[in-house]
Assembly symmetry: C2
Homo-oligomer: 426 residues x 2
């Protein structure tokens, strides 16, 4: 049983409140909060899992169902540019990740897109039969490894190897075809050095696929400048595109002539409405399209992205790290550090948008926090994960969430039976 | 130039109107019309391409965005059963296609799902290296062939062969691994004999995948009884799930232990939230899941399916064929038959929900019809395609659409410049 927790006597919420208010006053992103329709009395520290709805996205959801679909029906493919949504969404994501607008397209899920990209990379490397390995990091988000496993089962000449994310450079060798990495660790928030790793991989002739699930919309990256080969990312986390929003693919322009992916559905055809018998891929990233996209979900993502139109990714990163640093300051000052060890990197430059804490009762603590209006999430077996999305969180929110966490730990509220019952998705 | 058209002098709209009203009175499905929110003054003959919105689906779209996502945020995965949507949708589609509820699941697009199924079938047949062919029909919907082409490029030991859809039985031989057919031809509406073809294929040891894009929700089929192996289908046509609504997969229960598909994303894992490193597939059709589904689109499809809860597929088929037979009667009686040849089967039992007519100016005629409130669609190069979805169309609608088509042909309205301009999607 963990020892009983008492806040440090030196910790004073009243003077902390004044400090938080001051930080909020200086916040250059504070005006963005009004663009989100957040539930009252909720401090939402789970934007790393599902971003909240903006007013613009909400309005689009009504428009697309009650105007576009209902009234204009099939003609909306032209009149409301449904057919161009994958490119339109891609063009809005591109500046957030340092990419040319013609190098990004929205489609399918991260899992499906990783499959396409792994196939593309293996085809590009096929001339060198010595390259038989796919490398990925230990502790990568499971679906990334699962997809590589599925592919390797189909192509037994390849093997999948899991390597420690702190020792990637030493694992790069000339028998590696593809290095597939997630930039920000989904659990700890640990950030890999994309520029250095990509350059080192290229020096060994390795192609690199980056998963930006916990990057896009929270950390600036420079895919073109860093000469990244391929990337995927997620629409429903920091991009706030709604539950299960479509994912995206990035392909460096220099590879655009070599994209040959097996999920060759009609939307990736050079002329989908010519209805020819033989597949002829569209040029560039358009050839990553496969079936008819989920237009409702894709259009809402398109609208959600408008919140990024007038903000600088450098400001987003700065505030994210300031919020999480502030949380850590309070976690230290309150004494929570003694009972809830942090497994995220202490250096803010090595972190993404979240912090992760371990506790044997992490699940129940997370449930008790939710019941007290602070929404974070649990990652098995013992991680409480809190996200610091900067467009709708204030420093006062952070102080308040620490306050409630302190109370929950002091009172051992999490031991109540209702917080112990596991739900299907946690 | 086509000859000038004049309606037959014997054709009388006034007496035809009385007949149409009488047919509407006898219609056992006429009450379903009130469940759809159709635009005023539109006769929608394109449900075969994009079904219209129901009030239930519209309400769900509001609920999921403005209640579930907005207010309950990440907790909705449990509290609103987002995690179970693929199974819930599958269970609603199952009775429409003669399947056990545990044999159908909603996921991805038809294109992606065909890729999975082709891989599953080839793996099941791999022990017999003589089976090197994938057969499909000439004139299948292009994406089906494109996906098979993409797969064959990855697996060069297989070849894809296109066969005449009227000579399928004679093409079945012991070098065929998989027969992949669309049940209702997307252009002509020609229906293949699913029971007979499936049995004949099985007699030669061939696995059969049926594409039900133009079947589900309009023609009853008995997948379990007819011992179909696998099937895919579409959520956005006759199931009215909204633009790009997710597709579905059917797998016969006898194959559930042998499903091994390469798009092994986390949602198809036996325990997705255990976050283990190694993939272990869920049992049965759940293993067809891959990435996080587009929840907004999936939930709206779930709501749309409620319109089928109290109707009998036999009534749906009977009214569909009655509507299209009535259209053909009027097409004959008015003289349109002389100028707009029908390429759909004349026998109603050989047809799905649509009729197709050819004309050198089919594109412009379609545009002129739309401008006059009758929405059909064009299929390159010269086909006008009209769909007869029975849940919201009346016999009076059919008469009215014939009347407008007669006027357009008599006055050569379609020759006006604005109807000649091609749009991206037609």
């Amino acid at each position: 049983m963990p020892e009983t927790f008492k806040r440090l006597p030196s910790f004073d919420f009243v003077s902390a409140t004044a400090a938080a208010v001051k930080l909020d006053k200086l916040d250059v992103l504070k005006h963005k909060r009004t663009e989100f329709d957040l539930p009252q009395d909720t401090i939402y520290l789970d934007g790393n899992s599902l971003g909240p709805v903006t007013y613009t996205a909400k309005q689009r959801a009504r428009d697309i169902v009650e105007q576009q679909w209902q009234t204009d029906l099939i003609q909306s493919w032209n009149s409301h540019s449904w057919i161009h949504l994958p490119q339109m969404v891609g063009a809005k994501i591109a500046p957030l990740i340092g990419a040319k607008v013609t190098s990004v397209i929205a489609c399918d899920s991260i899992s499906v897109n990783l499959y396409k990209l792994l196939c593309v990379c293996l085809a590009q490397q096929a001339c060198d039969t010595q390259r038989t390995k796919i490398l990925t990091q230990i502790g990568n988000f499971p679906t990334d490894g699962y997809i590589a496993q599925g592919l390797v089962q189909q192509k037994p000449q390849y093997t999948l190897q899991f390597i420690d994310e702190k020792a990637i450079l030493s694992a790069l060798s000339e028998d590696v075809a593809v290095l597939m990495l997630t930039h920000v660790n989904y659990k700890t928030g640990y950030v890999l050095d994309m520029a250095t790793i990509t350059a080192a991989a290229h020096a060994k002739g390795i192609l690199v696929i980056w998963d930006l699930a916990h990057t896009a919309g929270i950390l600036p990256v420079e895919l073109d400048t860093w000469r990244v080969d391929y990337a995927v990312g997620c629409g429903y986390k920091y991009l706030n595109g709604g539950p299960g929003a479509p994912a995206f693919i990035y392909a460096a322009e220099r590879h655009h002539q070599q994209i040959q992916q097996p999920l060759s559905g009609w939307m990736g055809h050079a002329a989908p409405f010519a209805f020819t018998q033989d597949y002829m891929p569209a040029s560039g990233v358009d050839s990553f399209l496969c079936g008819t996209p989920p237009v409702l979900s894709m259009s809402v993502l398109d609208a959600a992205l408008e919140v990024f139109a007038d903000v600088d990714m450098a400001h987003i990163k700065a505030k994210t790290l300031a919020l999480s640093e502030y949380f850590l300051d309070l976690w230290q000052a309150s004494g929570l550090a003694q009972i809830l060890p942090c497994i995220s990197p202490i250096s803010p430059q090595q972190r993404g948008g979240q912090l992760a804490f371990t506790h044997p009762e992490a699940y129940a603590i997370c449930q008790a926090l939710i019941a007290n209006g602070v929404v974070g999430d649990f990652r098995a077996p013992n991680v409480l994960r809190l996200g610091f999305a900067p467009l709708y969180l204030s420093f006062t929110d952070i102080l308040e969430s620490i306050k409630r966490l302190v109370e929950i730990m002091e009172n051992e509220t999490y031991r109540q039976e209702q917080y112990q019952v596991k739900q299907a998705v946690t």
